[in-house]
Subunit: 353 residues, 4 copies
Amino acid sequence: MSGNTFGKLLKLTTFGESHGEALGGILDGCPAGITLDFDFIRSEMQRRKPGQSSIVTQRKEEDEVQFLSGIFEGKTTGTPIGFIIPNTNQKSDDYSHIKDTYRPSHADYVYEQKYGIRDYRGGGRSSARETATRVVGGAIAKQIIPNIKINAFVSSVGDIFIDKPYQDLDFSKIESNAVRCPDTATAKKMEQHIKEIKKQGDTVGGTITCVIQNVPIGLGEPVFDKLHAELGKAMLSINAVKGFEFGSGFCGAKMKGSEHNDSFNSDGTTKSNLSGGIQGGISNGMDIYFRVAFKPVATLLQKQEVLTNQGDIIAQQGKGRHDPCVVPRAVPIVEAMTALVMADYFLLDKLYL
Amino acid sequence: MSGNTFGKLLKLTTFGESHGEALGGILDGCPAGITLDFDFIRSEMQRRKPGQSSIVTQRKEEDEVQFLSGIFEGKTTGTPIGFIIPNTNQKSDDYSHIKDTYRPSHADYVYEQKYGIRDYRGGGRSSARETATRVVGGAIAKQIIPNIKINAFVSSVGDIFIDKPYQDLDFSKIESNAVRCPDTATAKKMEQHIKEIKKQGDTVGGTITCVIQNVPIGLGEPVFDKLHAELGKAMLSINAVKGFEFGSGFCGAKMKGSEHNDSFNSDGTTKSNLSGGIQGGISNGMDIYFRVAFKPVATLLQKQEVLTNQGDIIAQQGKGRHDPCVVPRAVPIVEAMTALVMADYFLLDKLYL
Amino acid sequence: MSGNTFGKLLKLTTFGESHGEALGGILDGCPAGITLDFDFIRSEMQRRKPGQSSIVTQRKEEDEVQFLSGIFEGKTTGTPIGFIIPNTNQKSDDYSHIKDTYRPSHADYVYEQKYGIRDYRGGGRSSARETATRVVGGAIAKQIIPNIKINAFVSSVGDIFIDKPYQDLDFSKIESNAVRCPDTATAKKMEQHIKEIKKQGDTVGGTITCVIQNVPIGLGEPVFDKLHAELGKAMLSINAVKGFEFGSGFCGAKMKGSEHNDSFNSDGTTKSNLSGGIQGGISNGMDIYFRVAFKPVATLLQKQEVLTNQGDIIAQQGKGRHDPCVVPRAVPIVEAMTALVMADYFLLDKLYL
Amino acid sequence: MSGNTFGKLLKLTTFGESHGEALGGILDGCPAGITLDFDFIRSEMQRRKPGQSSIVTQRKEEDEVQFLSGIFEGKTTGTPIGFIIPNTNQKSDDYSHIKDTYRPSHADYVYEQKYGIRDYRGGGRSSARETATRVVGGAIAKQIIPNIKINAFVSSVGDIFIDKPYQDLDFSKIESNAVRCPDTATAKKMEQHIKEIKKQGDTVGGTITCVIQNVPIGLGEPVFDKLHAELGKAMLSINAVKGFEFGSGFCGAKMKGSEHNDSFNSDGTTKSNLSGGIQGGISNGMDIYFRVAFKPVATLLQKQEVLTNQGDIIAQQGKGRHDPCVVPRAVPIVEAMTALVMADYFLLDKLYL
């Protein structure tokens, strides 16, 4: 009820504040007998980790995950997988300046209004540091559904967009640059833009596109738990996300039915795929693809007006090491949440075996 | 698990196929002692009902809701509210032509693949007729939170958009025209456009904007059940929806942080509201607003290729009375799902009393 | 949350007051493709129905169930099964005498305290009439798991007990007498006792034993959702139930480990079965058996003190037709709840396929 | 779904095997602003800890709980409370002898059948060591509902029973002896009996009675989530429990209605309390009391037949330090689960504010 659990059969429950002892979680409902690839889990954590390149925050977080249960001799046992990620490098004093102030477009004010109390250090529970636990869950989820391929990438930064359909992109190039954009020329422009924004002490938003391939037909639980509705919720639950569209998305709203309908081939596949791989909330076997909008990071390394808990408006400058653009590091988070949804719906569909 | 329940404390569970005996539902968790306005519920049903104007389907559905429990002497008793909407005007023979065929961009094919069986009459469970039960639930939900004002309206049809911010619109005019667009001049253009599309035997998509006003601070359950994540899921669960954005939405992804941050006033309100009334998943007391994209209706009154269950591709023309544009009738459905989310989160927030 | 839904994957949500328009429910999560035996469902309803013999209430309830969805051409479709049971024979005036009074050991007083309002007619939602919907759900659940055999019977009425282990009983005789006791000699004594009690205008309690045979190994979800914990909750949720024990039960608490342990045979079965077919919350393939205690019906056809809503204590006599002993009619309810649990856990176990 | 979460609004999710790195859990839904008494939590852990007296296992478990989140400056913040209990003293080699064998009346066999794999060290997830996490959750739950008084005590060991109603007992004496029986004379007999049983290398069962006082009227969610149904499930989920009864319990099944009904006083209290403080699933303000049956511990320090995974029956003797009687140490576990239920239902009842 309190919003810290995601999933139906495969449930990830998480805890942790950015400057507490540790973050962590429990993944329950993971099938037994899966030989886990711990190197893969570590590499997924590395992708999310700050400090990987000059265009992301240089803050250091070790993000070493410790598994405490549910695994025996390298295999899942069907019992809950508990894990923690100790917070090793958090300095509380960095944040004393925000103890009594509410930063604009942060959650400081609403947490204090809702709960009457907040852990102000580094955003507490509302910090994007929380997403580290999602990446752990997602890295295991990917191993539950090894045949389903999930690739997310940065499709825009500010006004700079990839101007090709995803079918023309080489996903193997996603990790070849700091922006995680598979189109090399666009990636360079994005990188340049982020560096300029950073120099200004400013931040910029962007979008991530995610493509899911090799999806079995039949995943999805109508009417309220349509596959895309759950994917949408998963994405919208990620910090800084402002929008979600799948298939034709907002463009589809401008189209005519005669343009939009996807004609069948005789094998049940479709000639076009404006539907985005989902009909009536159920996967149809075609690629699922969707796009996620991220707002610019709210913490600026320039002066801004903040509200104090005395009701005064004062000028304050963000401190510390923050991302000028969140989307490169959000790519593995989008994939993780996608994997959690797909694995969960894969397991749910076993009901109909 | 099977996707026919929506909500956490206030739970709507629904059933019903478009051509079965009846649709219906159970609203559980409604607080006791609310004197229900049945005329209001009926009027909400009327708004969704087909046949209201020349631009929507002329199909007749009586949509008379019968309440069977949970209400005593006009008041809610705290026990579950069971209700049914008999299907009085459905003629099964209208649909015999689709018994052995799968229509493009409909759910016929995936239902048969997932379940091995489908009620082919009129789309069965995947028919938008299902949303009638949501309107009943929403009409009660609105009465749980009478102070929160929910107004949805058509903001675009095809390429025709309202070119004003919602603050400049007069919501009292929404019901004054058949399109449910509060900007009279734009409404006329939309209506004209829909009539032309209809003449062509075609359909067209559109968007609905929804504004929620007078929201208490503190509604929302981070981290996975952020208020906008639940609103997004609610919208994406409605038939034909392809996208959801709130506040700055996809535009926000192009902006810089210095442009996007909403500065505080000394009373905790904000000068701008690009955040869309939600920070970190929790309402901040400002207006919540979001936009929902609907694809064009898939049933066309022109020939299209369909797939038969023998693997043949044949030409077939849609029969019956269908909407050339779904958005006018979707307005009350968007409001209903919004009301269900807001009432649910309102009740959840009582945990912190 | 509000307690009107039972089950995890196979979910029964019910509604209805004893004197409202109708009772009903939604069974969600039923696998598709099951050819339902409607005669069987009707016969299960008949077993619960009042007026079947001289030792149960002569009240007439037609208990005709109408299925409204989720079934097409006689088969389940995987969509939710909605159903109603109209209340055809309820006379509200029968209950006007309890409008302002709270009967001892009924729920009148607590419903009014909790909800601030109650439907006083015939006990409203707290009436055992509610269990009719459980029998519908259970009758379908039994058809999901046709191989698992569920037999409940009356094992005691007042001080009269069956003095044999269940293995010595012939379950085919359960329905051969009005008490539903498979031991004919004991059944006669019980029947005689109930008739005497009835003459006195009094009521008497009893116990029901339930035996589940042919159970697959592996059903149960430790640690909190152990199979017997869910069975226990299911039983304790039935009106008038005061206790639940399985396997050795309360007797087991008096035993030594060397007496109580069930030694293995080499095929994994056990020589004794004091465990009652469940180890660590998981079925082990042996018979599951448990016993349920029912208190005597609280409505007496003799004068009792009742509390008025003015705080006065007055004498009042129960009216109408009530059961002198509830256990004979509770047998199908115990079976229904058992079937719901077993089918649900059967489906849950598919996760490990 | 997989059974490692307990509760509705106040949710405890746990993980951990007896010989893994650590046990732990996440308590979600705890209201914000509660100043936690950590000494109290530690003392509750001490009560469950092995090695406290000569009649319980001398095994050493430090059971030091570390809180990792959800608490700031000593107060709950409304975010999830993550905690771990490191396993510091587990020696895996102690258990190598059971790697290939299934002990009678243990869960070894069914875990392997269900999951295809098991952590055989010390019972793995099925070990009662898991209950340590419940005590942490319960110790916090007690602080959510400080006015509700929960007292559990040992009411029988083998054939030795307390022969007084609970009203005649002095709960302050529960902790004054090793058996946790408030009746000193009976406690001595029990202690003596357990020592004899221990000498024989045997074990013995017993019962625990729990009394809940000062309960607000109105807690409970009919029809399926009746307060006693949830208490029953909570108790039956504890290792070794075989039965649950509340109020008159199984004795009530022998009584007549005229004996069993609890007459009202004019203030809504009742003269007798055979109902056990709950009517129709809702608390009525009277004391709630119930009794829980525990089987004898299955591990014996004498030779028993075990099954090998090759299908052989061999003789094997239990090793290590085990409890000859589990009930003294189960008292704090019964209280913890009771507190979790009562706090959860207390929070749920806020819906009706």
